[in-house]
Symmetry: C2
Subunit: 125 residues, 2 copies
């Protein structure tokens, strides 16, 4: 399963790189002006996740949002224990820098972290 470079893949990547917030499938689809099939975008994003290029956030609106793994790319222990903030007004999903550590009961092993706080951001408040 060696990965190939395709125009669409590159386009999605550059959109994510240029974005100042996490993006959903619809947002990407819209920005690509429907020149690409929905399923293709889903698949590209899933591959990015599998490859650790991007991380996935399931927001409390039930949608998945994706953001580039910028800072965490170099780290060996690839953890995403930080929160995301979803603005109920402008519906932007942005990354809150602060890493959070939750100590689990003994015997528990964490595999995935998903923390979302929704509310109103400063520019909408």
């Amino acid at each position: 399963m060696k990965r190939r470079n395709t125009p669409t893949k590159a386009a999605v990547l550059s959109l994510l790189a240029g974005a100042d917030s996490a993006m959903s499938h619809d947002m990407l689809l819209e920005m690509l002006e429907d020149s690409v099939d929905r399923a293709t975008i889903y698949r590209i994003l899933n591959r990015f996740c599998a490859d650790g290029v991007v991380h996935r956030v399931l927001a409390d609106d039930g949608k998945q949002y994706f953001a580039l793994c910028e800072d965490c790319a170099q780290q060996t222990e690839h953890s995403h224990n930080h929160f995301h903030f979803r603005c109920l007004t402008c519906s932007r999903v942005e990354c809150l820098g602060t890493e959070v550590s939750v100590n689990l009961p003994s015997g528990y092993r964490a595999e995935n972290f998903n923390g979302v706080i929704s509310g109103v951001c400063s520019r909408c408040g």
Copy 2:
């Protein structure tokens, strides 16, 4: 919109009260042996949420889970800043007691907190 007491509402409430973990729609439906319509359960749970009887957790499997607001019932500031743990093996969603405080950038106002960690719990690990 004054609330009425119905057998189904009481049944759902007692199931939630007796559960040691958060419950999803399907789980409730199954425990009620399909004697109640799906939509009814959804509506009852949404009313419970609106009334602050129950809190809703959106887990990273894309499903909603509901748990009684036990400890937090008496508090005036009704905050749910605690994590839930979803076991990937037994798929139980349980409440992690520890309250977490995330400090937002200035000008941000939090409305909702949704924190889920998934992994393997002690009895499955």
